[in-house]
């Protein structure tokens, strides 16, 4: 019996995870969502800009389809927050894969709040160069991005006309899932041009950025789907991230259950092996 449990068929584990994800999606139940200080810090930074008609936030969409389940709800929650406070948003990306996701996020949130492309928001698209592009944006924003994704000149669009450098943004948020990402925005952007920087990242990356929170190179951090859910709760518009907390919570419980079961079986097996030769 112990041997069988020790070498449990992985399909049983997969089936348990499958049901742990599916059942909470089908059954609606509420879970309390309380914002952590790091998520609240990003929210407060944007909130402090409300009432300033000239405020512009820059969002760098540095994630691809593989990490969009965690980061796209985050992007939507931040855009909804900005648009609900009449804060203008400019978007860029350092990776090719993010272009479609960023456009979808702008279109969805823009339509919800009746925002106009070019006036209330702009998406400048992708340019090659990764971290060096950040440096170029600090040196000359119009030079780094002469046109937006539609081909409209950034020197003529109302939202970007007066923006010359990264220094001109009131707040910058990097939503990243790897390289180039938060590390590069700190080293080539924040350290060089001294603008307030917040970040959003996948849950597995979040522990890496805690040193930058303490050194205040980052003023806030949204980590994973849980962070996105906290942000949605703060904005007051619950979406994909809050819904995702139900399956994520139950899946965590199932994985913890398997870890505990695995250890119990391991110790039973070890004690049986030790007793074996003596008997």
């Amino acid at each position: 019996m112990i041997e069988r449990l020790l070498n449990i068929d992985r399909r049983i584990v997969y089936l348990a995870v499958f049901f742990a994800v599916c059942i909470p999606l089908l059954i609606g139940f509420e879970l309390p969502i309380k914002a952590t200080p790091n998520v609240r810090a990003v929210y407060d930074s944007i909130e402090s800009l409300s009432g300033n008609p000239d405020a512009v936030v820059l969002i760098s969409f540095d994630y691809g389809p593989s990490s969009q389940p965690e980061l796209q709800p985050m992007a939507l929650a931040i855009l909804r927050h900005c648009f609900s406070r009449n804060i203008r948003v400019v978007g860029v990306t350092l990776i090719t894969e993010a272009v479609g996701l960023a456009m979808q996020a702008f279109e969805t949130a823009g339509e919800e709040y009746g925002r106009v492309n070019g006036t209330d928001y702009a998406f400048l698209g992708f340019k090659a160069g990764g971290p060096i592009l950040i440096l170029n944006m600090g040196q000359d924003l119009h030079g780094a991005f002469p046109e937006d994704i539609r081909g409209v000149a950034t020197s003529e669009m109302p939202i970007t006309r007066n923006l010359r450098s990264l220094k001109d943004f009131d707040y910058v948020i990097d939503l990243a899932a790897g390289f180039p990402g938060v590390d590069e925005w700190i080293a080539y952007g924040q350290e060089r041009y001294r603008f307030p920087l917040g970040a959003g990242c996948t849950a597995v990356m979040a522990p890496d950025f805690f040193p930058f929170l303490q050194s205040r190179q980052l003023d806030g951090l949204i980590g994973g789907l849980a962070g996105a859910a906290e942000y949605e709760a703060l904005v007051g518009k619950r979406g994909m991230a809050v819904s995702g907390m139900r399956p994520q919570s139950v899946a965590h419980m199932v994985i913890i259950g398997f870890i505990l079961l695995g250890n119990v079986v391991y110790f039973l097996h070890r004690s049986a092996v030790r007793k074996g030769p003596a008997a």
Binding site: P32, V99, K127, G129, H252, I259
Partner: protein, 218 residues
């Protein structure tokens, strides 16, 4: 040949490295940095073509030799050709125009219904593998493993709302673990990695480290 294969690359690495350091720390050299960073981006854009060439060449070799899994290589070719064709067609507007909106089979459709869906599926599969791997390998075999196990369980519970239902202190404990022991360890790793990166960069600039030229470092 020796000059082109050894001396010239070493010279280029030395000049580029010195210019990079000089323009970062000397304010009067800032205009040079604007030029060199623009060069870098142009080279990076051309590196994309090199990457595509390398990818296609590797998969073509697999198809030609009928290697195991050659059909997957064929899928790479089909995906590449279809995507390039849709991008060049651009809903009838041509390749040099901004992305044209469309409501049928176009680049946006391919991105949303193939790329995004496939990427999200691959990411979701991780949960299954993590659960299976955690059951088999996450064992309290030593005192260090017990500490790791307890910390992992507390963070896993504290990071999801169900943790707050079990105990209101769990999110606080999770936050403390991340912001104190994790931060201290991470900072130590960061300092070590950064010092190592600086040392390696200097070795490359001064030609001591030559493994990027295909030879052993001295």
């Amino acid at each position: 040949m020796y000059f082109l294969q050894r001396t010239l690359p070493l010279l280029v690495a030395f000049v580029a490295g010195v210019i990079g350091i000089f323009t970062y720390y000397v304010p009067v050299a800032q205009p040079v940095e604007i030029t060199t960073s623009t060069w870098y981006r142009i080279i990076a854009a051309f590196a994309l073509f090199l990457g595509i060439h390398s990818l296609l060449q590797m998969h073509w070799r697999r198809i030609r030799r009928n290697q195991a899994g050659w059909a997957f290589s064929a899928v790479v070719y089909i995906g590449f050709i279809v995507t390039i064709a849709l991008a060049v067609y651009n809903n009838g507007k041509g390749p040099l125009q901004p992305l044209a909106p469309g409501d049928g089979l176009d680049l946006n459709w391919m991105y949303t219904h193939v790329h995004v869906a496939g990427g999200a599926t691959m990411f979701s599969l991780l949960a299954f593998f993590i659960a299976s791997a955690a059951y088999r390998t996450f064992r309290a075999r030593s005192a260090e493993a017990v500490v790791l196990l307890v910390a992992a369980l507390l963070v896993m519970l504290g990071r999801v709302p169900i943790g707050a239902l079990i105990s209101e202190h769990l999110p606080e404990v999770s936050q403390w673990l991340m912001a104190t022991p994790n931060l201290a360890a991470r900072r130590g790793i960061l300092l070590g990695v950064s010092l190592g990166a600086i040392a390696t960069a200097l070795r490359i600039i001064f030609g001591i480290e030559r493994s990027y030229l295909g030879e052993e470092g001295q």
